[in-house]
């Protein structure tokens, strides 16, 4: 109540309490029912056992939103879990939006409304912040008061039984006071909806997420804390990338980026100019820029000429531009102006080290003046030092120039701006869709899956997996199951010699090691003999193995060995993998991942380019280039296959052989649920 009143809320507040006559000078009501007017929002902070009754009363009263602070729900298991379910169904029945339970409340600085335990209302600003950890959120709000960072709204998400991060992100996108969206998340409730909304929202506003539980031990801690299974790290990384979301790995980074996004315009491209008064920090900034994917701009001839005219001869005129340790404010001003005018430069970084007698504060003002006038290009500063630059730093902050204590952090902020500019440009172009597969393909696959389930297996035989892949138009080496030597011969005749024979047993992973594979068989007699020998050899190694027979496969000419795979993430659905294939996959780990949900052909091309395999495919050291178009097509088809078949949980094609024309899947593995 004190926070609500202290926060300056301009609407009416009705305290409801069984015992009190009045609270902080406002008359208290014994129940929501007795409140004389309509109520928009109810903040519920009663013991868990009474929450359901209070929620029902609010529902009948026509309350639109509930913020349930009380704990004692899903997080405690058993009874709490049932209580939460009931709470959700009450809110659904009366059509009330639910925040929490087990949360620390909400803040809106523009209304203004402070329905939290945060001791002080944060400064108003353009940052919306949603936190799955209420305590962390409140701590950050308190800290923000010392840094001058302002917020438009803050929500402690709690158990996310009703409204979750996706709802709030979606809403913040529409909020005129919000320019940047920040989230602290331990898990995502509905991965696919998250991805969908992220794609939309990041076209308009940057979203920065810090996702806790990135390490194995961290993930364990997060799942025991939230009770939801953490999706895999690769899936989160892919989701953030595909959704255009920035991922921060520390709270520091989260706010470094937020500061830049909330104050600076977006650059056109990634070319940065560094202005410094000392060589060392300039070089560090240059290194950092290259690491972060920024280009250190080559200045135009005109700019260099202008600088030469205006700077002392000892100054360095090429990027980074060093105006020397004794630089008076005017030198900074003129250099900034010239750099700002150069069309080859997209963003600016102003560095300063406190050398003897330098008027840091005055320079800070000049930098801010320049930016205020021009505003075209993003500008961040790194004024290094402590005591000597304290005043200057606070001038920059107050005048809306992000200032960081190190060049690396400043560069990281500019790099994020540039990356986001690219996200925006990319989303403006309509992506080419992956083609929709023929509906008969799914029926065919489901039919095969059904047979496998009847057999009480989860792993498909090679011949079955090939049949599914072929139904979706994925080119495979012809593969059929033979259950006797004679059948093998008949199939070999049909496919055409030479053929390969492989043991058909879902339990055996490394077939070659146990004499389960014979290659290049070119006569009926060889096939017959190989069949018998394979079965006998495998029996010797694995007396318990279920042997379904032997697969007869068309022999393929050598090509570039690639791997294409699918795993199903619990939060985000199928994850497509692509990389260099063959037996060294685990060693080389040259793989890229994308979520298949909404995956476009352009995403697929980008994915291919991310790998070393790409260099190889373009034709490495005299090799002819491979059929990139067909590869992209096959990756699209695999992605669609995974989307169409919810029963498929894992798929591995290793190797896929890429040729100058066309591709062929040689070994297809599938696991179904």
């Amino acid at each position: 109540m004190r926070n609500l009143l202290g926060g300056g809320y301009r609407g009416r507040i009705y305290p409801v309490n069984l015992r009190a006559e009045s609270i902080l000078g406002l008359p208290a009501y014994r129940s929501v029912k007795e409140v004389p007017h309509d109520v928009d929002l109810a903040v519920v902070a009663v013991p868990a056992a009474s929450v359901l009754e209070v929620a029902r009363q609010c529902g009948r009263k026509g309350v639109k939103f509930l913020v349930v602070i009380s704990a004692g729900f899903r997080e405690i298991g058993g009874e709490g879990s049932r209580r939460e379910k009931e709470l959700v169904s009450i809110c659904r029945e009366f059509n009330m939006g639910l925040v929490g339970p087990n949360c620390l409340g909400i803040i809106d600085t523009h209304t203004p409304l402070n329905a939290t335990f945060a001791p002080q209302m944060p400064q108003d600003g353009k940052i919306a912040f949603f936190s799955q950890s209420g305590a962390l959120g409140v701590a950050i709000l308190d800290w923000s008061l010392t840094t001058g960072i302002g917020f438009s709204r803050f929500v402690s998400l709690g158990n996310k039984a009703g409204l979750d991060e996706v709802d709030f992100i979606q809403d913040a996108a529409q909020d005129p006071y919000t320019e940047v969206i920040l989230c602290y998340l331990e898990g995502i409730a509905d991965g696919r909806r998250f991805l969908e909304v992220a794609r939309e929202v990041t076209r308009q506003k940057p979203v920065i997420v810090i996702k806790a539980g990135a390490s194995e031990a961290g993930a364990r801690a997060a799942s025991s804390h939230t009770g939801s299974l953490a999706g895999s790290e690769v899936a989160y990384t892919a989701a953030f990338r595909q959704g255009g979301i920035f991922r921060a790995y520390s709270t520091e980074e989260l706010f470094d980026l937020a500061l830049a996004f909330s104050t600076q315009p977006l650059p056109r491209a990634n070319r940065v100019a560094v202005l410094t008064n000392a060589g060392g920090p300039g070089i560090l900034a240059t290194d950092a820029a290259e690491r972060q994917g920024l280009a250190v701009a080559r200045l135009s001839k005109e700019t260099v000429e202008e600088l030469r005219k205006n700077l002392p001869p000892e100054a360095s005129l090429y990027n980074p531009v060093d105006v020397l340790g004794d630089a008076p404010p005017e030198r900074y001003a003129v250099a900034l102006e010239k750099l700002g005018n150069d069309p080859h430069i997209d963003s600016l970084l102003a560095l300063l080290t406190p050398q003897a007698g330098i008027p840091a504060t005055q320079i800070a003002h000049l930098v801010a003046d320049y930016h205020q006038e021009k505003r075209g290009k993003p500008l961040v500063a790194a004024f290094m030092g402590g005591e000597a630059v304290r005043e200057a730093v606070s001038v920059l902050k107050n005048r809306g120039i992000p200032c960081y204590p190190t060049p690396e952090r400043a560069v990281a902020a500019l790099a994020a701006l540039a990356r986001y500019a690219m996200v925006r440009q990319k989303s403006a172009v309509k992506a080419r869709e992956c083609p929709t597969p023929n509906p008969a393909a799914r029926d065919k696959a489901e039919e095969i899956f059904q047979q496998v389930r009847q057999d009480r297996r989860a792993v498909l035989l090679g011949s079955e997996a090939v049949a599914v892949a072929e139904a979706f138009g994925i080119p495979c080496a012809r593969t059929r199951l033979a259950r006797s030597p004679e059948e093998a011969v008949a199939i070999a005749r049909e496919i055409g010699f030479p053929v390969a024979l492989k043991i058909a047993s879902p339990h055996i992973v490394h077939k070659t090691d146990i004499g389960g594979v014979r290659l290049g068989l070119s006569s009926a007699e060889e096939v017959r003999r190989a069949y018998v020998e394979i079965v006998e050899s495998v029996q010797r190694f694995f007396s318990q193995a279920d042997i379904y027979g032997v697969e007869v496969q068309q022999m393929m000419p050598p090509g570039t060995e690639l791997i294409i795979g699918i795993t199903r993430d619990t939060q985000f659905g199928p994850l497509l993998m692509f990389g260099l294939g063959g037996v060294y996959v685990d060693l080389l780990k040259d793989v890229a991942f994308r979520l298949t949900y909404g995956l476009s052909r352009d995403d697929v091309l980008e994915m291919i380019r991310e790998t070393k395999a790409y260099t190889l495919l373009r034709g490495y050291r005299g090799q002819p280039p491979r059929d990139m178009e067909s590869l992209a097509e096959v990756l699209c088809r695999v992605a669609r296959l995974a989307e169409e078949l919810p029963g498929l949980v894992e798929m591995d094609i290793n190797p896929v052989l890429a040729y100058e024309q066309g591709l062929a899947a040689l070994d297809v593995k599938m696991t179904i649920a």
Binding site: T226, G227, S228, V649
Partner: protein, 351 residues
């Protein structure tokens, strides 16, 4: 007084004798015969012979189990050795009581045909005593299983036992075609009849979560309503989270055994087809894990055994059809009708 007919079912341990006896007895009963069950050599120790308990109930017999099973064998039964005749007389006497008023007596074989040979009560001895119609039943693992079947037939025939034929049981799907084409031919070429080729049905006589709870001395923390779910397999959760999903997804209807502190693995298991979550070491799980289990309707068992000891303990659960397991009985009867020459067998008994 009409002649009592005897059918004797023998086979190696684990070949499915009990299931066949049950199916046969129920079929005969339905055909209007008065059927009794007799098991001359039981496997019982401290507890009564489980086969006799089951058949007694199915047939509504009034005799107590110890009258149906006159002798219990053990691996050290020879401390009780007496000259052969005594035991034979005792078995005969018990048989008279069982056969009283019956049209057909189904005689269940001992765990193996050679049990109690020293007392003259092995399969040959029993067959010579009661002149039954003999059916042999064999679990098929591979080609060698057929050699075992042939060996049985030849031995019985040498001793002038009226062996009716062999039933190939639990035939894995991978060997079904081979059994029908090759195994049958091999047996018939030697003059033996194949009376049935029954495919493997892993769902028969699976243990339930309740049995897991009993043998683990476990407390059921959630999902109480699902304790009758069957468990097909066990997966020990001791891997990293990333690899866990791979294993969990491949095994349906499993019990996952893991420490109570591994919330990540417990939750991963709940995302897949899991019959029960067994938490070991007496470590009480996070409330949210229980919430999730509750939502998914998966029983959570908390045991004080550590993971290794729990797995050892679970070995005690055997696959036996228990009285009241209607589902398994139904399957067993279906198998008998569908995959065995059951009319021929009934005809042979009638003659």
């Amino acid at each position: 007084v009409a002649k009592v007919r005897n059918v004797y079912v023998i086979g190696p341990s684990g070949s499915g004798k009990t299931a066949l006896c049950a199916a046969l007895a129920l079929e005969l009963k339905e055909a209007g015969y008065k059927v009794a069950y007799f098991k001359p050599v039981g496997a019982g120790g401290d507890t009564p012979d489980e086969d006799a308990v089951l058949l007694r109930e199915l047939l509504g017999m009034e005799l107590p189990v110890e009258k149906i099973v006159p002798f219990n064998s053990s691996a050290f039964y020879l401390w009780r050795y007496e000259p052969p005749g005594t035991f034979v007389d005792r078995v005969k006497e018990a048989y008279e009581a069982v056969a009283e008023g019956a049209d057909v007596v189904v005689i269940g074989g001992a765990p193996s045909p050679y049990h109690l040979a020293s007392l003259g009560l092995d399969a040959i001895g029993i067959a010579q005593l009661f002149k039954p119609l003999v059916l042999t039943v064999h679990r098929v693992f591979n080609d060698l299983s057929i050699d075992v079947a042939i060996f049985y037939q030849e031995y019985l025939r040498t001793h002038q036992v009226a062996v009716q034929g062999a039933i190939l049981n639990h035939v894995p799907r991978t060997l079904l075609d081979k059994a029908r084409d090759v195994y049958r031919r091999v047996l018939e070429d030697r003059g033996y009849r194949v009376l049935g080729i029954i495919p493997q049905r892993p769902e028969i006589a699976l243990p339930t979560v309740r049995e897991f709870a009993e043998v683990l001395d476990a407390e059921v923390l959630a999902g109480e309503e699902s304790v009758n779910r069957v468990v097909e397999d066990i997966v020990v959760g001791a891997m990293t989270l990333e690899s866990a999903m791979r294993y969990f997804r491949r095994v349906p209807n499993k019990a996952v055994i893991t420490g109570g502190d591994r919330a990540d693995l417990a939750l991963a298991a709940l995302e897949t087809n899991t019959s029960a979550l067994v938490l070991t070491g007496g470590l009480y799980p996070e409330g949210r894990v229980l919430s999730q289990a509750e939502e998914k309707g998966v029983p959570v068992l908390l045991t004080n055994y550590d993971t290794y000891a729990a797995v050892e303990q679970l070995r005690l659960i055997t696959r036996k059809i228990r009285p009241g397991d209607q589902r398994s009985l139904q399957l067993v009867r279906e198998n008998f009708r569908e995959y065995c020459a059951y009319r021929d067998i009934l005809e042979a008994i009638k003659d």
